[in-house]
Symmetry: D2
C-alpha cells in the first residue's frame, strides 16, 4: 500500500472519552506539524446517543452501525472509546478487516480478551495503540528519558498512587459501580494507569505481587431514579431503595520489579482531598523522581550526584520548548497545559507511528497493554487468595 | 436589529495572539453551550504572513485588506490582535462601521489612543472588549467572587507581580526590545495584566503612584542577522554588531488603592527562575488570597474567621464543576486546564454579552481598559519625574 | 508516699539519645511550668564513654554501675537510652526496685522482652513511659485531637512512611547494620515510629498484616577500620574487606485497622532525597490529614464539610499559643520549633503524669508500646512466611 | 591582657529577648565546641521584673543596678536586650568601661545614638555585635556563601518581606504601638531584619530609596485596663476608652543596591495569613535564591547554569552536617532546627570572635548595624517627604 498522506479515522463510542479523543484528533494538526493528516471521517454512537452531536468536533460522517463502520474500506484507523467490556468486539472486527486500531485503556474487560486482541493484532500485522495518555504528559515523558539516561541509577523504590474522592457515600449506583458494565472499580480505572506509567518510566516489568487488598467500603448505594438513559448508563439498574455495589472502592498492593525494586501501589475513590492525585515516586542509587498529575506540568528530580550542599528536590517546570517533550507544539515557558493535551500529544505520536516514524517516547501497543493487564489480574488473584502471585503464572 | 443567533467574526492579525484567539473561537462552542454561535468568518493577515495558513483554525475567508474587512457588512465582531501600536486604527474604523470590537491588551500604544477608543466606543454604543485573559482563569474569577462576598474583609495589602526570565543577555534585539514596535517593555506587556487583575479582584481603583523604578539592565543587544521577516518582525533593525534597547526590562511601583490598601507591583523579564509567575497576594481584615499563574488551577485562601486551631492557607483546586467558574465546560475535578482555556472562557463571555446576557464575571470594555492604561501612564510619569503621581492628574 | 515536688532522674546510656534526653530534662523547666521539678541526678555511662562528659547537660552525679544506679534510693525515675537489646535488663531492675521507668523506643529488642517489661510494670504498679517522641510534635498532637473530635469522620485510608537515605552503598558496616546490636534495621528504627504514630492519631489498633516485604539491598558493606570504640560501637566487627549486613534496608507492609481502614506502611533507608520524611496521610469520610516531619510545624487538613467552593488542603502552622498543644511554652506564632522540642514536650508530660495530672495527649506506657511491638513482629512474620498474619495470633 | 579561656557575661534586660539570649548562652557550649567558655555571670532586671527569675537559665548573679553591672571588673561582655530606646545608655557605659558589647537589633532608637555607639566602639577598640539573628539560620548563611561563590552571577532583583498578622484591630494599645517606647512600628521591628539580611546575602549596600509608604491602618486602639506592669509595659498608658497609635503598621519601599539591582521591601503587621514570613528573593544572571523563615530549614536555589531540561527551583534542606553552616552542632539530616537555634549559632560566633577566630559567616558589629540604621532612616525620610533619598545624604 503506497503511503497516503492522510488517515481516515472512525471513532467508536461517544461518552466522556469520545469527547476527549475528538478534541485530540481535532487539535493535533492545529498545533503539531503532523507527518500525515488525520481526517475525522466517521463517528459511531448508539442512536439514543445522537451521533450527529459529535459533528461539532469536526466528524464528517455519522454511524449507528459499528460493524459496518469498522469494516468500511474508507477507514484506516479505528479508535475505540466504548466501555471496557465493549473493547474487544470492535477491536477484533477492525483487525479482521485489516485496520489499524487504537483503544482506550484498559485494553479489555478480561485478561482473555486482552490476550486475544494482542494475538490478533500481531498476527494481522496491524498497528495497535492503547491510550495510556499519562505517558504523554511532558513531565512523565521527561521522567522516562531521565531514567533511560541513567539519571537515577539503579531503582530501589517505586511508590505509585492514583487517589480520587468522588465516590462518597452519597453517590448513587451509577454504572461505574456495576461489575458487569465497568469490569472493575478503582483497580481497572486507576491502577491500570499507574501500572502502565511505572512500567513506562522504570523500563522494567513487575515480576511478583507480594500482597494485595481489594476493599469495597460502600457496599450498597441508592438506586438511580431515572428512566433508561442512553449509552452505557442504559445498563444500570434503576428504581427506589438501594442496590449492591459489585466493584472495589480501593485496591492496594505490594510488588517487586524485574530490576530489584520494591513497590507499593494504591488506587482509591474515597481518598478525601485527593481529586486526581495520579503519580509516582522513584528512588534510585543516583537520584529520585516524583510526579503528581494534580501538578502535571512539573517533575521533581533529586540529583544525588550534585555537590551535597546544593542537593535538593528540583521542581522542573516541564514547559520549555526545545527541552521538554511535546512542548514545542504548545505555548511559551510556564504557560501551562492541561489534561486534554496529553491526548493530543498521543494523537501526534499515533500519526508518527502510522507514518513510519518513531513516537516521541514509546507508545503502548496491544502487546504492551496486555502486560499491564496481566499485572492487574495478578493483583486480584493475590487479593482473593491471600498469597503472593508470580507474574509468570498469569497469562 | 433583530437578535441573530450567530456572530460573524473577523480576526485582524496573525501572530502569537492570532493563534490563541483562533483556538478560543474554535473551541468555545465545542465545550460551552454558547447562547449564539461564533462564526469564524474572515482572517486578516499581511500578505507575507500568508493569511490562508489561518485556515487550519477554521477561518472561512481570508483578507489582506483590513480596512475593507472591518467595514464589511458581513462582519459583526472585529477581533484585533495586531501589535499595540496598531490597535487603534482598526478599532476606530470598526467602531465607525458600527461593529462590536474586541482588542488584545493593552488597549493601545498610547494613552491618547486609549481614550479616543473608549470615547468612540461609548459614542457609537457598540460593545467593546479587551482581552485581559487572566480574569478568566477560574481561580482568579473565584478570587473576585470571594472578595465581593466579603470573604477577606477590608483590603489592606496588595502585592502583584509578573516575573519572567526569558530576556537574558544572550537574547538578540527582537521587536519586543524596540519601543516603536512594542510600545513598552515589561511594563506594557506584564504590568498591564496585573494592574487589570488587581483592579478586577479588589473591585477598587488605584489612586496614587507613590514611587516607581523603570530599569533597562541590558542596554544593547546583538542585532538579528535575518533578512526582513513578515509581520511585526519586519520593523526590527537587523545587521551585525549591537543595537540599542529602547524599552524597560523591569518596572516596579508602589501604589495606593481607593479602599485604603497599600500596594506593590513588579514586572520583570530577567527574574531568573520565574518563567511566568503572574499573580497577586491580597490581605484583608478577615482573610487573604494568593494566586500565581504557574499554578493556575489553584487559589490560596486564608480564612481568618475560622477557629484559630484550624486556620491556615487553603489550597483550593478550582476545578470543581458547579462550584468554580467556567469549569462545568471542561473536565472532571483536578483534571487541570491550561493557558489557552482562559481565552476560550473569555470567548464564551463575549458571546454572552453579545447575546444580551451577563458575563460570568465582569469583562473589561474599552472604558475599563482605559483606566488600566491611565495607571500604566502614571507609573511611567512617576518613574520619570521621581515623584508621586495622583491618578486624578492623568487623563 | 507523700507527693514530692521534685523527681530525681537517672539516665542510663550516653549515646545520641542520651544527648537528646539530657537536653529535654534540662530545658523542660526553663520553658514549661512543670508541676514537679526534674532533678538531673545521675548519669550512667560505660567507663570508655566518659560519664563526666554528661556534666555539661546538668547531670549532678555520674555512674559506671547501672545496677547500683537504678536501685539507688535517691532515684525516682530511671530513663533508659541504651541500645534496644539493653532496654530490658535495666528496665526490669528498676521496676523491681519500685522505680518509675522511661525507655527509648522501641520498647525492647524482642517481643518476649517487651511483654515481660509490660507485665512487670503492671504488676509493680510503677509508671512507665516509652519515648515515641513524634506524638509530641504539636502538629501530630493536633491531628490526634482533630480525629478525636470527629473532624475526619470514619477513617478509610491510612498511609504511613518513614523514609531516609543515609544508608547508601558507601556507608561502612556500622552497628546499625548488625542484627545482634541493632535488633533490626529500618523496621525497628523507623516503622516503630509510624506504627505508634498512626495508632495514636487514629485511636485504632492494627488487626491484620495483609502482606509484607523486608529487603536488604546492600548485602555486604566495608568493614570499619577502627580499633574498638566505646559504647555500642564496641560490638561491631572491624577489619579490612567486607562484612555481611544482617538487618533489613526497607520494610513495606499492608494492613487493616480495627475501624475498617486499609493501610500501607513503608520504612526505608535508601529512599534517595528523603532525609527524614516521617509522616502519614489519613482519609476519612468527613476530612483528611497529612503530616510530614520534614515540615514538622505544619499539619495539612482537608475539611470536606466546608462549602465546596472553598474546600482544599489547609496548611495549619501549628505554632499558635492557646490553640496548638505545647506551644504556649515556646515562641510566638511561626517562630518554628525543631526536632528536640518534641522530647522536651514529652519530658513535660512525663512530669505531669508523675504529678498525678493528665498528659497533654495520651502518652505510651509499656503496655501500649508492647502493642506496637506486636505489630512489628507480625510484619516480620508475614514477610517471612509470605502470608497474612492476624494480630490476635501474635503475643 | 592574656587570653582567658572564659568570658563573663552580663545580660542587661529581662523581656522576651532576655529569655532568648539566656537560652543561647546556656545551650551554646552544650552543642558547640566553643573556643572559650561562656559564663552566665550576672543578669540585670528591674526590681519589678524579679531578676532572680532568670536563675533558671543558669545566671549566677542578679542585679537591679545596670550602671554598676556594666562597669563591674568581673564582666567581660555586656549583652543588651532592653527596649530600643534603652540600648545606647548601657552600651556607651559598657564601652566606656572597656567591655565588649553585644546588643539586640536595631542597634538604637535613633540614628544619632547608633552613630555615637559605632563611634564609641571604634574609638575604644572594643568588640561589638548586633543580634541580627537571621543571618545565622543555616539557610541564610548558605545563601550568603552561594552569592559569594558567584552562584547567582550579577544580582538584578531583590525582593524582601517581613510579614506578620498579629496586630489586628482587636489588639489593645500595647507598648509596641507607642513610639516613645518602641521607637517605630513594623519598620524598626521588621524592616531592620530584612535590610540587614539582604545587605548580608548580597554583599552590597543600598544606595537610594526611590519611594516609600508608611501607613498606620488602625489609628486608635483600646487602652489596656491593667495597673502598672513591670518593665517596658510600665510605660504604656492604661485606662478605659481608646488611645492613639503612634507608630506605623506597615512600611514599604523601593530601593537600589550598589551593584545595580532594583529592590522592594515590605514590613507589615496586618498581612493576614503571614505569621512570620521573613525572607527574600534574589535574581541574578546565573541563578536565584529564595528564603522564607516560616520554612527556615530550607533554601530555594535556581541554578541557571544547569542543562535546561533539568533546571528548576531546588529546595535545599540545609541540615546536612559537613555541608551546611552550624549544622554539625545539631541533629542528623532533616531533624530540623527552630527559631532559637539562630541565637545559639550567633552566641557561638560571638565566642569565636572573642577568641580571635573568624566567625562562621560575617557578624554585624556596631559600624555595620549603623549602616542598616541609615537605610531605615532614609526610608522614613522618603516616606515623609514623598521623594527619593540618597543614602549618601543620611548620616
Amino acid at each position: 500500500m503506497p503511503q497516503k498522506d492522510f488517515v481516515n479515522i472512525a471513532l467508536i463510542g461517544a461518552g466522556f472519552m469520545g469527547r476527549t479523543h475528538s478534541n485530540a484528533w481535532g487539535q493535533v494538526s492545529r498545533f503539531f506539524k503532523t507527518p500525515i493528516k488525520p481526517v475525522m471521517h466517521t463517528a459511531f454512537a448508539l442512536p439514543e446517543e445522537n451521533p450527529q452531536a459529535m459533528g461539532k468536533w469536526g466528524w464528517q460522517n455519522f454511524s449507528t452501525d459499528w460493524q459496518k463502520t469498522v469494516a468500511s474500506p474508507d477507514i484506516d484507523l479505528v479508535d475505540i472509546v466504548t466501555p471496557n467490556f465493549m473493547h474487544a468486539p470492535p477491536a477484533k472486527a477492525a483487525i479482521a478487516a485489516g485496520k489499524n486500531v487504537a483503544c482506550e485503556k484498559p485494553i479489555a474487560g478480561t485478561l482473555t480478551e486482552a490476550r486475544d486482541m494482542a494475538d490478533a493484532a500481531k498476527k494481522a500485522r496491524v498497528k495497535s495503540f492503547v491510550w495510556y495518555n499519562y505517558r504523554r504528559c511532558p513531565a512523565v515523558a521527561m521522567a522516562h528519558k531521565l531514567v533511560k539516561q541513567g539519571a537515577v541509577g539503579d531503582i530501589r523504590h517505586v511508590r505509585a498512587f492514583y487517589l480520587q474522592d468522588w465516590a462518597d457515600d452519597s453517590i448513587p449506583l451509577v454504572w461505574r459501580f456495576d461489575k458487569k458494565l465497568a469490569g472493575s472499580g478503582a483497580h481497572g480505572d486507576l491502577n491500570a494507569h499507574i501500572v502502565d506509567m511505572t512500567r513506562f518510566v522504570t523500563g522494567q516489568e513487575i515480576t511478583t505481587i507480594v500482597g494485595a487488598i481489594a476493599e469495597t467500603f460502600v457496599k450498597e448505594r441508592t438506586l438511580m431514579a431515572g428512566s433508561a438513559a442512553g449509552g452505557i448508563a442504559a445498563g444500570i439498574k434503576s428504581g427506589s431503595g438501594k442496590g449492591k455495589v459489585t466493584v472495589d472502592d480501593t485496591v492496594l498492593f505490594l510488588a517487586r520489579f524485574s530490576g530489584g525494586a520494591v513497590a507499593s501501589f494504591e488506587a482509591a475513590r474515597q481518598a478525601t482531598g485527593n481529586q486526581n492525585r495520579n503519580g509516582f515516586e522513584i528512588n534510585g542509587t543516583k537520584g529520585s523522581l516524583k510526579f503528581n498529575f494534580e501538578d502535571m506540568n512539573r517533575l521533581s528530580f533529586y540529583d544525588a550526584t550534585r555537590p551535597r550542599e546544593v542537593q535538593g528536590w528540583t521542581e522542573i517546570m516541564c514547559t520549555h520548548g526545545g527541552s521538554h517533550p511535546y512542548v514545542d507544539a504548545w505555548w511559551p515557558d510556564a504557560h501551562i497545559i492541561g489534561y486534554e493535551h496529553a491526548f493530543t500529544n498521543m494523537a501526534f505520536d499515533i500519526l508518527k507511528v502510522l507514518a513510519g516514524q518513531d513516537p516521541t517516547v514509546p507508545i503502548p501497543d496491544f502487546a504492551d497493554a496486555y502486560q499491564t493487564q496481566r499485572v492487574l489480574e495478578a493483583v486480584l488473584l493475590s487479593a482473593d487468595k491471600h498469597e503472593p502471585v508470580k507474574l509468570a503464572d498469569v497469562k
